[in-house]
């Protein structure tokens, strides 16, 4: 392999890792909710779309950037809160499958609502980030991707700080550990769930802005949920670290496979490659890379 081939591999790898961060961004929203309430929230993708669409529509109506951001955040909080109240609370104690299917239905409702409110046209979203690639040691790196990675890192740090050093964060971890015990010591589960859905709404907002700026705000944006699922399976549904590492692995291997495996099978493999990879990992570790192996109580 020549020096330039090597550089090319590195470039592909770096590009893959950075796009993996974007996957992680969506996956983290899933993990937050799954950890505390055991719900695999399929509607996370539609929430991402809803956030991006709301923000871009506000900006297009001449509302200043910062104010739009604030309003969108408020809307997402309200949305998360409403979902928790109207859909999930009535279904408490139902099987995880029922809850999952409810969120599957919910994703269609949110998408439908978004279409009703904001229409179906594609919007461009300019966050004012310069996307000219720059060169480091012979490798081209997208500055937008780099910034997205930085924002994702800051968000993870912020969330971690929130959950480790605040009272409600402590409660969150208690609930994640054992719902019944948490209830027994007097933690108010509904309030915690409300908070978590709010946090998930915030994560959806961040992901929506970055993905929207990347791809344009369109309805296929909600399909990024399908990119996040293999990440979750790979890393484990209940681990934020898993979501990050899983995202990086999927992002990198997907890009490498596209470049080096794609030509042999006619390309277009990015649709299923991540799933195949996740499946292989699962067959070795049935609860993901970072999942806890639980002893079955009988």
């Amino acid at each position: 392999m020549s020096y330039y081939d090597f550089l090319f591999v590195i470039e592909v790898l770096v590009g893959g890792l950075l796009s993996g961060v974007m996957y992680s961004l969506v996956a983290i929203g899933f993990v937050l909710i799954y950890k505390t309430s055991g719900v695999l929230n399929f509607a996370q993708g539609s929430m991402v779309l809803f956030a991006a669409l709301t923000f871009v529509s506000l900006v297009e109506r001449g509302i200043p950037f910062a104010l739009s951001l604030l309003i969108t955040f408020a809307v997402m909080v309200a949305l998360g809160f409403t979902i928790e109240r109207t859909v999930l609370r009535p279904l408490v104690n139902r099987s995880p499958m029922t809850l999952f299917m409810a969120t599957l239905g919910l994703s269609y409702i949110i998408e439908g609502a978004a279409q009703l409110i904001w229409g179906t046209q594609v919007h461009g979203l300019d966050l004012g980030i310069d996307d000219t690639p720059f060169e480091v040691g012979g490798i081209l790196i997208s500055s937008f991707d780099l910034l997205a990675a930085a924002i994702a890192a800051a968000m993870v740090a912020g969330l971690s700080a929130f959950f480790y050093w605040t009272r409600i964060g402590l409660a969150f971890r208690a609930v994640a550990d054992d719902q019944f015990a948490a209830l027994a010591v007097g933690l108010r589960l509904p309030r915690i769930w409300g908070t978590v859905w709010t946090a998930a709404g915030f994560v959806a907002l961040v992901a929506g802005l970055l993905w929207g700026a990347r791809l344009g705000v369109r309805f296929s944006l909600s399909l990024i949920v399908l990119k996040a699922l293999p990440v979750l399976v790979l890393g484990a549904f209940d681990s934020i670290l898993g979501a990050i590492v899983g995202g990086l692995i999927i992002g990198a291997s997907e890009k490498l496979a596209e470049v080096y495996l794609g030509p042999f099978v006619g390309g277009g493999i990015e649709g299923w490659f991540a799933y195949a990879l996740a499946l292989v990992v699962l067959l070795v570790r049935p609860s993901g890379l970072f999942g806890q192996k639980t002893v079955e109580r009988v």
Binding site: V295, E296, R297, V298
Partner: protein, 300 residues
């Protein structure tokens, strides 16, 4: 105090050494071989040990169960009783030791072959099939005897029909034996707890096992229900000749029901004998009085 803790530490170390020896323990293996060849021993455990995340749930437990006896395993909470029954039924795999069932020796019992080995069990927390009727739950207990394929079932071929008929007959017998006629066609999930426990016993008995493992069959029952259940357990042994291992919390019931009693404490067997012997054993009294003062006030 210091002496006692030193003594405990030495005891701990000694047991660790013996546990390590048990991994490759020709004497133990020979003992197991001898026991498992005896036709009157249904089940023999030798040097069984298991730990969960560094905590020893069982260490170096031996147990022989003879044909036709009701053998109780008792002990305070966390003594390792359920782990023992889960190891026998292949749901947990012991870290060390061997298990001989009806002359076949295993280090890991294959759970999927359990029924064909002649072992049936009930579960501490109900493990019924909520979507099936009582009768169908019980009929499932004989699934290991079925040979007909799904095509034969759909087409209603003779083998499938004769299997169904045979199983229906056995099911009806058990339903009558355990007085479940009045609820036989109800969905099992709609029954009260005590009856569900009885359906589980029925599902295990219909398999006509040589060895029946009962994991706290009377837990959570009223005194009347307990007495009734004890009657069924005894009748199952007397009429069907099934050997029974019984895990139970209620010492009173156990003493009246079983032929021999093994006592576990902190994962070790501290006593084994007739109810009278066990009741007089100082180690047992110590273990139970210790917990009686500490937590749940069980008395002997």
């Amino acid at each position: 105090m210091i002496g006692a803790s030193l003594g405990a530490a030495a005891y701990e170390r000694a047991s660790e050494i013996s546990a390590i020896l048990a991994v490759a323990n020709p004497v133990g293996d020979r003992r197991l071989a001898r026991l498992s060849s005896r036709p009157d021993v249904v089940l023999a455990l030798s040097g069984i040990g298991i730990s969960f995340g560094g905590v020893k749930a069982l260490s170096d437990v031996d147990l022989e169960v003879e044909v036709g006896e009701i053998r109780a395993v008792i002990g305070p909470n966390g003594a390792g009783k359920s782990s023992l029954i889960n190891i026998i039924s292949g749901l947990y795999h012991a870290d060390r030791g061997r298990i001989a069932i009806g002359g076949q020796s295993f280090s890991r019992v294959p759970a999927s072959r359990l029924a064909r080995l002649g072992v049936a069990r009930t579960f501490q927390n109900l493990a019924l099939f909520g979507g099936l009727s009582v009768r169908n739950n019980i009929a499932c207990g004989r699934v290991h005897t079925r040979r007909a394929s799904f095509v034969e079932h759909i087409a209603g071929l003779p083998r499938a029909r004769s299997e169904d008929a045979g199983i229906a007959e056995k099911t009806d017998q058990i339903v009558a034996f355990l007085h479940l006629e009045s609820v036989a066609d109800r969905l099992v999930a709609t029954l009260p707890y005590g009856l569900q426990k009885r359906v589980e016993l029925a599902r295990a008995l219909v398999a006509e096992p040589k060895l029946l493992l009962l994991d706290e069959p009377m837990a959570g029952m009223t005194a009347t229900e307990k007495a009734e259940m004890a009657g069924f357990v005894r009748a199952a042994r007397d009429r069907h000749g099934v050997t029974i291992i019984l895990i139970e919390h209620d010492i009173g019931v156990v003493m009246g029901l079983s032929d021999r009693v093994a006592v576990l404490d902190y994962g070790r067997k501290i006593a084994d004998g007739t109810p009278a012997e066990v009741r007089a054993d100082p180690a047992v009294i110590r273990a139970y009085i210790g917990t009686a003062e500490g937590e749940n006030g069980e008395d002997i």
